[in-house]
């Protein structure tokens, strides 16, 4: 690991790409209706995907999280591929059957306690030999809070200040142990050296922490931090706190703009230009020839957005049942029954003026001559994050991302479980390796090493610094 002494002021493309895999669920991206579709819950599916990814030298395996089942018209959503495991529990099991791949847990800052979550992430990091990461997400709604002791306590406007105080506290917990604190031999008087651990206290508006952290640093110092928020506040947060952005900007031009924006924000935050890596969410539909890939894409889309998914998608914005409408006909002429579209009922549901939205969509669909099903497919297919083509064609496109430094890699959501990575690992990865833009072996055994991230600088040394940081954090949140 390289210890950076001075932050770089100019961004330098590494010329390399990394791949991650996001084990999906919940949204309509997963094809569960074919003969090859396996279990979404059996551990074997997770093991197979993770081990395939590791065979393809992937940097990271991601698990998502939703802390309340999504609902549709007031009931759990029947069309959802729901039922994901607790991320850290599944990753702890995967740590036993993998050796190099990073293990990324999506965990919510709103419904966890900082000391508890930081401890569990430390634990996963040690258990995996320095391969753990935290994909930081934040929610604000009382609807999810109904599953927790705290309930819904957070205003939307507060979610990033709250999340940042949470992450700073977690970093202080991970920084609390000195290097090499554990007795080298049994003849030592203490297991941990005297004074090797600093107490961490935080007294803020939303929570209070007073803890002497229990675990020392891992082989990669502390868990790698991923963040996905795309709003200006989210980008600022990432520029200050994150190691990797799980971005929503996969198209080359857009990705280059996003890179410039993030580099500028990162420099303003006092960090180096290369300190924050960018990996957009993406989907790959590949075949031996371009034509086969296009045919495959049509087939995948027809399975992702069936007639029921198309109607249900509109129902969530119309707030009423639309079962009588023909999925292959035009958008419903009746108006939504709600003022606002359902305020958050799980990921992917966005507030908007319902009637205005319906008018706009009807006009859009009419202009383009799209049926309900075609329209919804276009809206939901994440079209710009899909790479479709022959293996060599797509490899050429990706090499351009590496050359320009638009991204540091891609987070792939396989549309098929558990075989969805097979063609990527068997065919795309070798093509990327031939082009010199993909590793031929793991750079190291930790996630930080494999992502080319520098060892973090301690955020605070000593109780006084920690107390001062606590005071600053309290000032921000309180």
């Amino acid at each position: 690991m390289n210890h950076s002494t001075r932050p770089a002021t100019e961004f330098t493309p590494s010329g390399q790409l990394q791949l991650g895999v996001f084990f999906q669920g919940v949204n309509s991206g997963t094809v569960w209706k074919t003969a090859e579709s396996g279990s979404q819950t059996d551990f074997e599916s997770f093991r197979r995907i993770a081990q395939t990814a590791e065979r393809g030298l992937f940097a990271a395996f991601f698990l998502g999280e939703g802390l309340r089942l999504r609902e549709h018209l007031g009931r759990p959503h029947a069309l959802d591929v729901a039922g994901r495991p607790d991320a850290q529990t599944a990753l702890a099991a995967l740590a036993a059957v993998t050796t190099n791949i990073g293990l990324v847990a999506t965990q919510n800052t709103t419904y966890n306690d900082p000391a508890d979550l930081a401890h569990r992430l430390s634990s996963l990091d040690l258990l995996s030999g320095g391969r753990a990461a935290w994909n930081i997400v934040t929610t604000d709604n009382a609807w999810t809070g109904a599953n927790f002791r705290r309930g819904g306590y957070l205003d939307h406007a507060d979610r990033y200040t709250h999340a940042e105080a949470f992450v700073q506290t977690a970093k202080r917990i991970w920084d609390a142990w000195d290097d090499d604190p554990i007795a080298a031999s049994a003849s030592s008087t203490r297991w941990a050296a005297e004074g090797a651990v600093r107490r961490v206290r935080h007294n803020g508006r939303h929570y209070t922490v007073d803890v002497t952290p229990r675990l020392p640093r891992s082989a990669q110092y502390r868990p790698v931090l991923f963040q996905a928020g795309d709003s200006p506040e989210g980008r600022e947060f990432a520029a200050r706190q994150a190691d990797v952005i799980f971005s929503a900007h996969p198209q080359l031009d857009d990705a280059l703009d996003f890179r410039r924006d993030i580099v500028a924000r990162t420099l303003r935050a006092g960090r180096g230009a290369n300190d924050v890596k960018i990996m957009p969410a993406s989907e790959f539909i590949l075949a031996a020839t371009p034509r086969e890939a296009l045919e495959k894409k049509a087939w995948v889309r027809s399975l992702q957005i069936g007639p029921q998914q198309a109607i249900a998608y509109l129902e969530q914005f119309w707030g009423r049942e639309l079962q009588g409408y023909d999925p292959d006909g035009p958008l419903p002429e009746i108006d939504p029954v709600v003022e606002e579209t359902s305020e958050t009922r799980g990921s992917g549901f966005h507030g908007a003026k319902a009637r205005q939205l319906a008018d706009q969509w009807r006009a859009e669909a009419k202009e383009q001559g799209l049926s309900i099903r075609q329209f919804v497919s276009a809206k939901t297919s994440r079209g710009d994050s899909t790479f479709t083509g022959s293996y060599s064609e797509v490899a050429d496109r990706l090499a351009e991302y590496a050359r320009t430094g638009a991204v540091d890699g891609f987070n792939i959501s396989p549309w098929l479980i558990p075989s969805g990575l097979d063609d990527i690992v068997n065919h795309l990865v070798p093509e990327l390796q031939e082009r010199g833009v993909y590793p031929k072996q793991y750079a190291g055994s930790t996630l930080r090493a494999n992502l080319g991230l520098a060892t973090p600088v301690r955020t605070s040394a000593g109780v006084e610094a920690a107390a001062a940081a606590a005071a600053r954090t309290s000032a921000v949140t309180g």
């Binding site: 209706k33 551990f43 994901r84 495991p85 607790d86 996963l124 941990a192 651990v197 803890v211 020392p216």
Partner: protein, 401 residues
């Protein structure tokens, strides 16, 4: 065993559980282990320990989670005590590594979120193929309370927090009926929402809406173990725990203690398995157990609420044979894992098995099966469902909040 009550004990189930805590249960175990002191944090040590326990013929491993300790110097960890990784994660790590060993992490109920605990344990059941259990703890530590900014919970409220948390988990585990995932291509429905249920827990402390975010655990309900005396008699009578861990001041009192508790439970009408708790220090490699213990205690005193056996493998075998006639199982806490586990696996377990006192080992069996528990139907299950009807949504637009 002349002190036994007159009531005749039922035949035990012959289960042996092993506490797999770092270098061993004695706080000074790390000082006499061949491995480096950091061994308690090493995944490869954990892998080796669970495989050794499984091949030795233990039925289950428990993973302790002592939480944060209240020390005289709150800025310092206890100087003699080795740190531990999260117990539930250790159990999860062991899941794909083992085939028959039941995996039972200790998880606190007081300073944790019951919804997370339920999801984590259900996930453990999936990664272990139905071999998960839950050893319920209720932290009394002020340090644990301070870490999450809560007031310290004491006295009767501890039992209530534990009972409430178990109730939340049990309801959430039932909140998806077994056949809730239907993957019905014709209607596009992945789930049958009639088989998902809100749990609507609303106790004095908090409420939990549900349903769970993960399907019903493979076992339906994970076996729940609790130290005898932690839960209220009402909760125990209502079936909150599937097994109780029973301690006594000395080994020779264990059988009587078990028999007494069993008689008391019979009055309440519940029949949890009773598992005796025993600390173990054995003669090993020419050193007597007493000498080994004295050396360990010379570093750090071993304060434990459990009965302690200090002696030879032959004597321990006789003791266990006696206790297993009354208890459904015994949980052993070896002072030093690598030393005592070697003696146990070479001398004690083979002899107990030869005498037919141990339950058979069945690879792939669930923990419930080991305990002789049937797989229960979900409390929310109704009559067999009607064939899927077309309507997957109800016209209740905007009504739900």
């Amino acid at each position: 065993m002349s002190t036994l009550p007159a009531i005749h004990g039922p035949q035990g189930r012959g289960l042996l559980l092993l506490e797999l805590d770092g270098a061993g249960s004695h706080p000074a175990a790390w000082r006499v282990t061949r491995s480096a002191p950091a061994v308690s944090l090493a995944p490869e040590h954990l892998r080796g320990a669970v495989l050794t326990a499984e091949s030795a013929g233990f039925h289950a491993a428990t993973f302790s989670d002592p939480g944060l300790q209240d020390t005289a110097l709150p800025d310092q960890p206890d100087p003699g005590t080795a740190a531990r990784l999260n117990a539930l994660q250790r159990a999860a790590f062991a899941g794909p590594v083992t085939r028959s060993l039941a995996l039972i992490p200790e998880v606190d109920t007081v300073y944790t979120e019951p919804f997370h605990v339920s999801t984590q344990l259900a996930s453990l059941d999936y990664v272990s193929g139905g071999r998960a259990g839950w050893l319920v703890a209720a932290s009394t530590s002020a340090a644990d309370a301070g870490a999450v900014g809560r007031d310290t919970v004491r006295g009767a409220r501890l039992a209530r927090e534990a009972g409430d948390s178990i109730e939340v988990s049990r309801r959430l585990w039932d909140s998806w009926e077994d056949d809730a995932v239907i993957r019905e291509v014709a209607t596009g429905r992945y789930l049958d929402v009639d088989k998902l249920h809100y749990v609507d827990v609303d106790n004095d402390n908090y409420s939990v809406k549900g349903p769970s975010i993960i399907p019903r655990p493979l076992q339906g309900q994970l076996p729940v173990l609790a130290p005898a005396g932690l839960l209220t008699p009402e909760d125990v009578a209502a079936g909150a725990a599937d097994a109780l861990l029973v301690s006594a001041p000395a080994p020779e009192l264990l059988a009587a203690e078990i028999a007494g508790i069993r008689a008391g439970l019979a009055i309440g009408g519940s029949e949890p398995a009773l598992i005796a708790e025993l600390d173990v220090v054995l003669d090993s490699r020419g050193q007597t157990a007493a000498d080994r213990l004295a050396a360990l205690n010379g570093h750090t005193a071993w304060q434990s609420p459990r009965a302690r056996f200090v002696g030879s493998a032959v004597e321990l075998t006789e003791l266990l044979a006696g206790v297993l006639a009354w208890a459904d199982g015994v949980r052993l806490h070896p002072a030093v894992l690598e030393t005592d586990l070697e003696e146990l696996s070479q001398l004690v377990l083979p002899e107990l098995r030869r005498r037919g006192l141990l339950a058979p080992i069945t690879p792939g069996a669930t923990f419930r099966e080991l305990l002789g528990l049937a797989r229960p139907a979900s409390r929310y299950a109704t009559a067999p469902s009607t064939p899927a009807s077309a309507a997957s949504v109800t016209p209740t637009a905007g009504a739900e909040n």
